[in-house]
Amino acid sequence: MTISLSKVATATLVTSALALGACSKKAPEELPPAPTTSTTTPTPTAAPTGPTVGTQSHFEQAVGSSTVIYFDTDRYNIDTTDATALQAQAQYFARYPQLTFTIEGHTDERGTREYNLALGERRANSAKNYLVSLGVDTNRIRTVSYGKERPVALASNAAAWAQNRRAASIIIN
């Protein structure tokens, strides 16, 4: 929580940048248009009050590190730590019923490529099924597996692999 709280402090002005960052991560096909030189003065906006509902940073601010759950090697079951995190997610999505989101399933690099795609899909569905059991409408949840293709920790050791075996809930807007 300390991480996400400190993020709140700095998040006020970078909210839109974070949202863009999340967006470009999900849709690598398109780049934003190049900035144009303009003579119009930027309109002063009201002082931002924090991330807006419907952004990943708002979700992260609300549930902290609970946006991601982690799995043991080759496993896809929801353990008690995962359950706690998913309950926090479910409460958030109950509060904002207009939101839809994606669960990305990932594996560590110590598996064959095709099997890992299937395993990532199984992990994403485990998280989805648990959220549905907590009352989140199934139609609000999209799943996608990236197998071992998108690691967050880059070393080849047990600590890095533990970080990569994950299901991450992402709000795409």
Binding site: L119, R122, S126, T143, E149
Partner: protein
Amino acid sequence: MKFSVLALALPLLFAAPLAAQNQDLGEPVGDGGEVETTGVDPSNEEAEGGLTFTVTDESDWEDLGIAIPAFATDRDRATPANSSGTAALGREIARVITANLQNNGLFKPTGPDSLPSPDFPQITAPSWSSWSGRGAEMLVHGYVRARSDDRLVVGCYLYDVALQDELIREGWVVPPADWRRAAHKCSDLIYARLTGEDPFFDSRIAYIAETGPKDARVKRLAVMDSDGANHRFLTLGSATALTPRYSPDYSKIMYLSYVDGNPRIYVYDIGSGSQTLVTQNANPTLAPRWSPDGQHILYSMAVAGNTDIYRVPVTGGQSTRLTDTPGIDIGGSYSPDGSKIVFESDRSGEQQCYVMNADGTNQRRISFFGGRCATPEWSPRGDQIAFTRIAGDFNIGVMTPAGGGMRILTDGWQDEAPTWAPNGRIIQFFRTTRNAGRSSLWQVDLTGRNERRLPTPVDASDPAWGPIRP
């Protein structure tokens, strides 16, 4: 599969989704068709004998010296194949043949750059004394002739120097752009004549070209000849591409693409540059495979997280589900006669290899050695199954279709995804380095002694070796 059928009838209606799918594709590239075999043989008489021994092991051949001087030309003429005429091309062809025979650890070839060049009449009447003095047991001669229609005639002759006799000869007519194929056909002729094995040089490889840092890898579909030449990228890299498979006739490539944001199998038509989904379905589809006759496709599909193997006719229509366990059943590789399929399943709690009949019946586990068995691929000869063996490190292994005689051929940190040479004597795979995550293509023969890295312009994974070309 309804999709592709409908697309033919209603091209306008489907033009938009097709265009959207194609956004990661490069320009379509035509593939050279059949190579015409020509009767260069004036006597038209099949050479007989010449071999008085049988091959039991490739290592027996490492001392067999083969001299491969430059191919001669009747008249040095300009050709669109290169910038300096048929004489220079003849030397280049001999270089390609030398590299082919050298790189596979089979023979001890000597190339044109350290040999005298025979003149045109000597191609059919070798100067025996000059070659026997060089310690060469075998002698390759050949010629290049540019026809008036710009096509090239390439003749290839194999001689036994001690016997002073011709073992075999053949000729091909190729478009100038396909001159390397004549060199591969000649390599295949020599290899097959001397080893008694089926040829494999005139073949292509589809694979995934990788660039960029480990957490933002760009993965593009690429193709090349068996020796790395004629390399082309087929996708642009904006969407991750994985696990390609050439169709048996090289007209199509199936591969996985995230082009619509989800992992899905597409059937890419090489000639037209268009592609269609293997099945019109919202679920992720993985692990595409062709049947040996090219009439059926195997794919794996995850439904609510559970992955099973399905079969669909290449022309479209109803998919048949072949597995139905709650575990992950994935991949699949047909026996050469199409009657059986070897596949991977974790129904026992971990990845192991299983065989079933082509209709999905009689599923039984075949891998019972220690460790795990993944990505099984049936040899085109039918006698072996190659697979990724996971026991700490990942290595390439082979076993019989009954699961016996397991042998480990490689010793990398992470070697995976074997693919067979068309003749079932060599296996390619990809090797990933620890920490850096760099990937590269390698090949190893069935003895495990001849291992080498394949040259690729960038990092590479997921090799898929196609059959011998017509």
